[in-house]
Symmetry: C2
DNA sequence: TAAATAGTGTCTATTAGACACTATTAA
DNA sequence: TTAATAGTGTCTAATAGACACTATTTA
């Protein structure tokens, strides 16, 4: 029974995803030390009990320290645990999914991290391949009935951009009108008094993005909304 | 930096739910020792690194040892972690949701555990109230677009029983025909050659449950199916 | 005024759901 | 044959989606 009270190690891993060239890609780096030295791995690290206020805080700190990136979206995926996943013994990894727009990548420390197509993954360290697979499944599934894909775009975006994201993810096209009615867009009805309806899925701003044509209204996402009807 | 490598404690908690008198109820017991001695708490315990093969195995062992019950359904909910949730210091709790039919309760060691209405909870130890709230939210939400409620019934059940469960959860009634078409029930079409279509949400058995009227066909759930259209 | 993309109204095909009808058992 | 519940077909109301039309900008 004494051995039963040995504590497992607790680390936090992050599956950081972005959309690039129409593909979902995940951030990976080559491990510099054993175990698994030289193999590709997710950003991850141990909980620092003297500075982390929560597991989400650990995930944010790990991403900041290792990649220099701040994700637009972060949620816990699932916690993996067992005696086999790390050669050093019984371990626990609290896995997270994070999303970031492709446009925010270039500037930051892309140094050691590179992005790999999730549908054509190389071999990964530990159980990281499984974590990526589950994360991708979660994102694709959640995208079909929620506003999750909005976090693959900058804070302000046009409906055409958003429609493009959905069409990339699902490989199907719909008419503009259909897309807008699915989102419940009804800009015309906004009476100045009531303004931004909290029930709205997207919030219409008064900003527009120009070009050589009629400017498109910019929207921002209200919150992570789930649809009653599967979106795609 | 040395302190950073102090390991947090890792425990596994289980929110065990059942449907009784039309209410969702959760299993709680009074803690026999500090911290939180005398207050109501979920079944939970530390990972035993020498005997547990996974976190799910820990959850099953804890339920077995503390309540004597084997749940029909168990899934990980979310992992809670932070410096404040337990007075002994930074701790991690891998929280699970479990479902069990009310009929399977009576026989087993209901000894120290009693079931409490989740919509009228007393004060709970640690962050257990939050865990119950999240678990209930997850179950109610998932029930609206999946076959999750099937696990609140015995393995074989009639469609009328299942419809009753949904109506209890959502407080709305629909006609029998509507309910059946939502589930995609089409018993008549089963040609003996093709038999149980793997795409079917429920599998029709050749067993019937009698009474003083036309016997009802017994079904079992194929797997946890998600519906494209929100069910309720 | 032509080109290009944004935004909207209308009409149709599909589907969800209420209701009524048939089916099968025990008393 | 009546009572009680199971199972199914039909008709209607709601809704999703394609298409075409209007709107607004630059060149």
């Amino acid at each position: 029974m004494k051995q039963s009270h040995t504590k497992p190690d607790v680390s936090v891993d992050v599956v950081l995803l972005t959309l690039d060239e129409g593909m979902l890609k995940v951030a990976l780096h080559r491990r510099a030390s054993a175990p698994g030295k030289g193999s590709l791995a997710l950003p991850g690290g141990y909980v620092h009990v003297d500075e982390d206020a929560s597991l989400e805080a650990t995930a944010h700190r790990v991403l900041r320290e290792k990649t220099g990136l701040e994700p637009r979206y972060l949620e816990q995926l699932r916690t993996f645990g067992g005696p086999e996943r790390d050669p050093r013994g019984w371990s626990v990894a609290v896995s997270h999914v994070a999303l970031i727009p492709h446009g925010e990548l270039s500037q930051a420390g892309a140094g050691v991290f590179h992005f790999y197509d999730v549908d054509d993954l190389p071999d990964l360290a530990f159980d990281h391949a499984g974590q990526v697979q589950e994360a991708v499944q979660r994102v694709r599934n959640k995208a079909s009935y929620s506003t999750l894909p909005c976090w693959l775009l900058p804070e302000l975006f046009t409906l055409t951009q958003l429609q493009g994201i959905y069409e990339q993810i699902f490989g199907e096209t719909v008419s503009r009108g259909t897309f807008r009615s699915r989102l419940g867009i009804r800009v015309g009805e906004v009476t100045p008094g009531e303004s931004a309806d909290e029930a709205d899925i997207l919030i219409a701003t008064e900003q527009f993005q120009g070009g050589n044509q009629r400017p498109a209204r910019l929207f921002r996402v209200n919150r992570l909304s789930l649809f009653k009807r599967a979106f795609w």
